[in-house]
Amino acid sequence: MEGRTTHTYGTAILSAFEYLLENYPRVFVIGQGLWSPWYVGSSMTDLDKKFGVERIIDTPVSESACTGAAVGAALAGMMPIVVHPRMDFMLYATDAVVNQAAKWSHMVGGQAHPGVTIRAIINRGGEQGAQHSQALHSWFAHVPGLRVVMPATVADARDLLVASVLCKDPVMYIDDRWLYDQTDDLPPIVESDLRLEGPKCLAEGTQLSIVAAGHATRLALDARDELARQGYSAEVIDVRVLNPFDPERIVQSVLKTGRLLVVDGGWRNSGFSAEILASVVERVSPNAMKIPARRITLPDAPAPTSRVLEKAYYPTSDTVARSALDMLSRS
């Protein structure tokens, strides 16, 4: 197709970086591994060579200082992107994110906004275990003042990164290594206003609404295909923007299908899956539901390492399809 470029999720992220660095001199990138970015798949290859080590800053092992520094640079007029190759590692940086970046605008009467983008990568599996696996989007989505986005598609991997960096507010952009191999043909970049982005229907259906974010959306889409093979019609809603959260599109879908299955890659207790369920409960009468809503999450346990336990721990598209079929066959 004319003007389209084939991308993986990984190279889509790379193309967003290139676009931003080419078009916005105020953008710079800081984080670990940037001069040898094998850690982040194909998503940052050779940025240091194209844009120079002054703007692509590889750092000491200092997540806290680097994130705080990015917040400060944003207050001083730059558009920093701080990269954490693994979400687990950035827990040293939570003060800079939660106490500083997220609070600043409000604390100073809306007069200053640290427009920093924090790229946090979910990277799990491969028998790496409890400290190399966490999907903490629910935690961060709890914090007012911090926008949180989770791209599930190749297009969003690129376009939500551009929108995040152009946004005046602090944004946590959470991508997932399990999505990097997806491919798609993308049109040229069109800048969008992150404030107008929200949940989107990725595939229409009539009998069941499956709502998910990030990698869980992939599971939902694959499960939808399986359901279709078995003669059922499911709709998949991709949350995309977890904070601020606008449930309107989800509610519309549930009003149509009367069945809701939420899939989330995080834990269950106080997780984002609960927020989705609550927002539907608040807006949809129980009479409109053909069967009580359900959710699929991780078990409430840290990630194990052993391969057999990993297999039992992570939900798959099959887990989703089975749960969906059960709901459909009972109602």
Partner: protein, 352 residues
């Protein structure tokens, strides 16, 4: 500006062309030297086995190998007892083995088996053997450093005379929490030995790209903590320095800081030697560092002292290798944890 006059640097310790001669075994008893050699060889051969197994796809998770760095854990452990409290990081196979943990327990853990040191829940990066003084290792860089300080404070409150040990790398020193820990340990006079295994790299980055000096002991100086900077590939030197600092800590003098300079022979993670993804080291540099081999230098020092022969090394190597083969086969055959372990091990058992 005279600011640099006082900059602490490693000098020749960071240059592989120095310190490659056989180790001066001095007054150290033969029995002790033999134990050092035995322990260092055991660690090396066990890690070599893991490297092969990882390469061949038998190990599913990452392994951070410390081949080339064995003298540090062995030297430090010589100053320790089972009631001490040792903490490590992502590269901790040597730390636990040097305390006398069995190779089978390590292998089984790396393979995710129920019989492993952490019952198959943690793998290579999360090891535990508290009966031998190993309180735990984790891959969050510097994550256990403050825990070691706390274990030291506990030892002080318990009047046990025990010490805590924090093993960490030159990269870990870049985390703020290390500096908080040094200060806290000093002001609370906690019996803690901070051991920096300075191998000059944190994954792909040489220390010159990350810090203004290559010697991390400058932070001991800043916190008024007694410190030694040694050739980390000289087990005798490491043991002597560790002994001095641990004795002080046991006597109530507070923390000590040991910077042991070394080099890892594998890439940051897994089995490749120097072409590991992202690691920019030259083969030439690696080969230079191989001349500072801690095992060979100890062996040659023992031979020079007239208490050992090269034939004995061959014999010892064969003996350890066959023990390792038995341990490996056993670990391969062992069962995986029951899937119920996922939820059963999150909290202490009822009544616990």
């Amino acid at each position: 500006m005279g600011g640099n006059d006082k900059l602490v640097t490693l000098g020749g310790l960071a240059d592989p062309l120095f310190f490659s001669a056989p180790i001066d075994t001095g007054e150290v008893q033969f029995e002790m030297l033999r134990r050092y050699l035995n322990s260092m060889l055991r660690i090396r051969l066990a890690e070599r086995r893991l490297a092969e197994a990882r390469r061949d796809g038998l190990v599913g998770g990452p392994v951070h190998l410390g081949v080339g760095q064995e003298a540090i854990a062995v030297g430090v452990s010589a100053a320790l007892r089972n009631s001490d409290r040792v903490f490590g990081g992502h590269r901790s196979h040597s730390h636990v083995l040097a305390l006398g943990s069995n190779v089978h327990g390590l292998f089984a853990e790396v393979l995710g088996k129920e019989t492993g040191l952490s019952r198959g829940m943690g793998g290579s990066m999360h090891l535990w053997d508290q009966p031998r003084g190993f309180y735990g290792s984790v891959p969050i860089v510097a994550g256990t450093v403050p825990l070691a300080v706390g274990a030291g404070i506990a030892a002080k409150l318990q009047n046990s005379g025990d010490v805590a040990v924090a093993y960490f790398g030159d990269g870990a020193v870049e985390e703020g929490v290390v500096h908080e820990s040094l200060n806290l340990a000093r002001v609370s006079r906690a019996p803690v030995l901070f051991v920096v295994e300075n191998n000059l790299f944190a994954s792909h980055m040489h220390i010159s790209l990350r810090q203004p000096s290559d010697s991390t002991a400058r932070f001991a100086l800043a916190n008024n903590i007694p410190h030694h900077v040694v050739d980390g590939n000289d087990v005798v030197a490491v043991a002597a320095a560790a002994q001095a600092l641990v004795s002080g800590a046991r006597r109530g003098e507070g923390p000590g800081f040991l910077e042991a300079v070394t080099f890892r022979w594998y890439g940051h993670v897994d089995w490749r030697e120097d072409i590991d993804v992202g690691v920019h080291r030259s083969l030439e540099e690696l080969n230079d560092w191989r001349r500072r081999d801690p095992v060979r230098r100890l062996e040659e020092g023992m031979v020079a002292a007239g208490c050992w022969s090269a034939d004995q090394t061959v014999e010892l190597t064969e003996q350890i290798n066959s023990e390792i083969s038995v341990a490996w086969e056993q670990a391969l055959a062992d069962p995986y944890p029951d899937p119920e372990a996922i939820l059963d091990r999150v909290y202490a058992a009822a009544g616990g």
